[in-house]
Symmetry: C2
Subunit: 496 residues, 2 copies
């Protein structure tokens, strides 16, 4: 999720006045999500059925009577109508099958919670396209891509399941999601507590809006991850930008850069902002997927990948050419751990499982997350957050203007203590934890922190190399969910 | 509010296959609201300022960037920034000035609660027309008339007030409304607890949807009001329908009927369903405004008007002609208490302060309230609830189909116990109490019942003739509101 928004915003402040390059956006918007983990995936077989449910394109108006098919996956192997539950994955910005395969936690706990698993695809992603191939044509077709409409889809889908599956009516539903999907899970419980008894909101940066957190927090956490993972690692990266700037000032320098970084295409001077963004994006991605075991994100990655990367970045005080050679070695860990890549492509789309266009639109409307860097507290070139430019770029691209305060207006920002039954989990290594809820708000709005956790590690399948902190987090999460389920069953028939 | 929906639905089952007569709808949809009460109004001077706030036409999409001016009234004579509050009237389907002048309770408690009073006009009513004179042109222009959009208007308005009025930021806001406005107040607290600390939902029939209450409940309460107000009163009314049917079967009978009822226009056989609806509507109106003191609704009315009406309806066993003469005397209490009316007009619009077209659309989209009668437990001719016909009429009139379960999907129906700080007040005499919350749900979702109360009597100004039950209700309401205000001020600075 938000990472694309971040990159979009960086684009704006990196290259003021320039138009967003759609190819570039496509790539940057496509690089967030989670590795499949063949090792753990095989441990619990993911046998699900695929269904489609007819949804209204517009839940909030009556003149548009169009409908579309929302895809969802259902697995009921462990479901027990007696004291069981329904775990409902609030799909985020991508193909639901991919999310399903990357949310091993739900599969791991299904038996214990006697749970039916449902994975609902988010509208405008995967196969759930309100206007088919025309869905991204223009602002008019994209008008129904909002978090509110997505939540209403979830509500209608759950009502449909309860109506049509015998025994489902009297089952508590728990919303589970990660990243943007984690925000959706939390908001789902806030707005529709009559539909879901609780929510597990993993790595959900619900406060990464307006000025709830300093705009430089995200990149500070990325920097800290590198700082802690190797001596001089972040300083080396910090110095690399100037080295690139110096080297790219001559034609031969540009040629050398492209060659040394094994890029697939030659570089022009105009490509340099893109090159730097691409490198920056790599470090951010690494911070998000800095998992304790080998995983497979875009390309295969080793365990604790930042540590591996940092082995090449121990000396910041070498000449520019040496520095860039080391940067290449580091990038190569991320892009070529398998050794199969012939060259590195700075405009390459990372994975097709994410809906890049959809998220780019969402970042231009509701999901406005301010980011900035100062080059002092972080390892990046200084860039300010510029809402005006951001808005202008959005207007150019989609014909819409963002509403930076809408999400807070709608979902309450920091004033959410009257809600209940939400677990906010965050990994300390995850840059998104900066905008997350990391302290208990009340007895039932609880924060779970995972010291050694990157981006929603807790939602991933069990792994022999899981650190204790994530095991504890999952245990706590299960405890809360069990209580919600028990409370529900205890209260059945006691409704007013 | 809902009364128009009731009448709309009756139209559908009374005259299957016939089209809704716009004139008729206009009248039936305009006859709900509250008497001005000159006596009590003068006791607290209503000095307010009128303002306009630029609202987005569509809060839930980004492609429509149009805005419109929402009217609101503000009175701050008693407002004290130190420990004070903001009482926010959630405007319903009519002119906000009229509501302001008919909600004396807020004026009466302003000093005690050190409150700023705000009366917000509902979109598509009064002067708050999203597309000016074109607002009701067709379904496309009416597309933004929903309770969700109205609530979002309220939220944005409150944020605006807090931003622009020094000292308002740190003030608790309490939502107050009656009838449809009472539902809005309750839903406001449910959906935006970060904006309002509590809600007083007076005579809010939030369960008058789907099958939450039997469809004949409303008319049963109307009947009970008449039954209790005079010997044989309801039986006389019950018999009157057949008398009308018999008399209207001949040309001379029609002529006699029109003459005896002092109608302004002659009657044809086709008018008879309208005539009966108009009479039925009169009895329903009387049940809603059966106040303990003289009030001025449409026409001036005596105290306990049903008792006065029933004085003419003591003998059900007289010949048809005598029965109809007595019915005329009863109707005349309602339509001609002042003695000024030269004739009675069965297609007369009752008051222009209500937005009849707007409500007719709302009843055809979100506000689908099933009503029926059986002629056994109530004093009306039997009519079934027929959703199919209702929907077809809506489609003919507005090009929309109602979604009968949407309100419950959105706002939770009976499963609302996780919310807090809502007072549901209901008068036992009020037919709308059947769909209201009349028992406590939790410690903070409380029901206040008013034994001698008609439609939101508690929101009316103090009156020397107020029964003890309404005095107690208001005292309870004030106690709750004071607690919410205190809790807010006690917690300022303690937010997470």
């Amino acid at each position: 999720m938000g990472y694309p928004a971040l990159l979009l915003s960086l684009l704006v402040f990196l290259a003021p006045g320039t138009c967003i390059d759609p190819r570039r956006v496509l790539r940057t918007l496509s690089s967030l999500h989670l590795p499949t983990n063949p090792a753990s995936r095989s441990s619990v077989a993911k046998n699900y059925s695929v269904f489609y449910f007819q949804q209204k394109v517009d839940h909030f108006g009556f003149s548009n009577m169009k409908t579309f098919k929302q895809r969802y996956l259902l697995a009921d192997k462990h479901w027990d109508k007696d004291g069981g539950s329904i775990l409902f994955y609030t799909g985020n910005e991508g193909d639901i099958v991919w999310f399903c395969n990357n949310t091993g936690f739900m599969w791991d706990v299904a038996e214990e919670l006697k749970a039916m698993l449902v994975f609902a695809e988010h509208r405008y992603y995967g196969e759930s396209l309100p206007f088919g191939n025309n869905s991204f044509q223009d602002g008019r077709h994209l008008n129904f891509l909002t978090s509110e409409q997505a939540l209403a889809d979830f509500v209608e889908l759950i009502k449909h399941l309860k109506r049509t599956i015998p025994g489902a009516e009297d089952q508590p539903v728990i919303a589970i999601g990660g990243s943007y999907g984690g925000m959706l899970a939390a908001w789902f419980r806030m707005k529709y507590p009559h539909i879901v008894v609780g929510a597990l909101a993993a790595s959900a940066p619900i406060w990464q809006f307006e000025d709830f957190v300093p705009c430089d927090m995200f990149m500070k956490i990325v920097t800290t991850d590198f700082k802690k993972s190797g001596s001089n690692c972040s300083v080396t990266i910090l110095r690399s930008w100037d080295a690139i700037n110096r080297l790219s000032s001559t034609g031969s320098g540009l040629q050398w850069l492209a060659q040394t970084l094994h890029l697939c295409s030659p570089l022009t001077f105009e490509d340099i902002p893109n090159l730097k963004e691409w490198i920056m994006e790599t470090w951010v991605n690494l911070a998000m997927v800095n998992y304790p075991y080998a995983s497979n994100f875009l390309q295969p990655l080793p365990a604790w990948p930042i540590k591996v990367v940092c082995q090449y970045l121990i000396n910041p005080s070498v000449p520019d050419s040496m520095l860039i050679q080391n940067i290449f070695q580091a990038l190569n860990v991320y892009y070529n751990y398998s050794g199969q890549a012939k060259c590195l492509n700075i405009s390459e789309t990372a994975t097709k499982n994410l809906g890049s266009l959809g998220w780019s639109y969402q970042a231009c409307t509701e999901m406005v997350m301010p980011f900035c860097t100062n080059g002092i507290d972080d390892m990046f070139e200084p860039h300010q957050w510029n809402l005006k430019k951001y808005s202008d770029e959005c207007f150019k691209q989609w014909g819409v203007r963002p509403r930076p305060s809408w999400i807070i207006t709608m979902y309450g920002g920091k004033n959410i203590k009257s809600h209940s039954n939400i677990i906010f989990s965050n990994g300390d290594l995850d840059p998104w934890s900066g905008g997350g809820v990391t302290k208990d708000i009340t007895d039932t709005l609880v924060a779970v922190t995972i010291k050694e956790g990157a981006h929603h590690l807790d939602l991933r399948a069990n792994n022999a190399l899981d650190p204790t902190s994530v095991l504890l987090a999952r245990a706590l999460e299960i405890e809360h969910m069990k209580r919600w389920i028990k409370d529900f069953h205890d209260n059945v028939g006691r409704q007013p």
